[in-house]
Symmetry: C2
Subunit: 142 residues, 2 copies
């Protein structure tokens, strides 16, 4: 899984004429070994421990590249912070977000997806992507 992501990014990089750098390798390893839905700042702080020489801007730029390459997805839960999560080819999920403790649960619902397509078709829209987030309290916080 991780190897294929690395490969996928390498393919993207060479197709785009990007040069390979150790900073990007480090950021990629760190990102892939991390829990999901992390902030640029979270990843930067995590990196800084072992690599105090990597700059903030580089982490920003690199995460943008990951998103562009398709191995990551940008998500925003309305708290003003952009988060990144791993993107598994051919898979898709939406989110339940606890607004008290910040817990995030992923779910997939084939019927909802189908209904979305129907709605779009009814209005003549060609959908490229969508965002479905359910905000509330998780079991522990209810």
């Amino acid at each position: 899984m991780i190897i294929s992501k690395k490969q996928a990014f390498q393919d993207f990089a060479s197709a785009k004429g990007l040069k390979s750098t150790k900073q990007r390798d480090i950021i990629l390893d760190s990102f892939l070994s991390c829990h999901q839905h992390l902030t640029t700042e979270e990843l930067y702080l995590k990196l800084k421990t072992d690599n105090p020489n990597i700059g903030f801007a580089t982490v920003y730029r690199t995460l943008k590249l990951f998103a562009e390459s398709g191995i990551a997805r940008e998500i925003q839960f309305g708290d003003g912070q952009t988060r990144y999560e791993h993107m598994h080819a051919g898979e898709h999920h939406d989110h339940l977000v606890c607004t008290r403790c910040g817990a995030i649960v992923e779910f997939e619902n084939e019927t909802i997806e189908k209904l979305q397509s129907e709605v779009a078709a009814q209005h003549g829209f060609t959908i490229k992507n969508h965002k479905l987030e359910l905000y509330g309290y998780c079991v522990k916080c209810s």
Copy 2:
């Protein structure tokens, strides 16, 4: 419809001990007479024509109040601008967004809403609100 919104905001204001000001009256009138999904800046610019004395910050603050009072809803379509739309009591809708021309279409789908509740229940979540946006191209832009 407009009158009841005005009334609703007045009720909210007096319950909160807010003083009535002509700036808020003007902003409220302007907001209610406006098309939907408008930016703070859009409303500010519209106001400035007839009321060059109303400040940016006041429009920001007042729109936040409208949202708090329940007569408006804050929405974010991922373009970095917060928008506000009229909130009709007891009604709900989601959005189709054209990423080319910016067209916004509202829709309601009872089945999707119901499925969302089911998903939330399955994961033990108590949902307070949700966000469903379908991004793509509208008929004209396809």
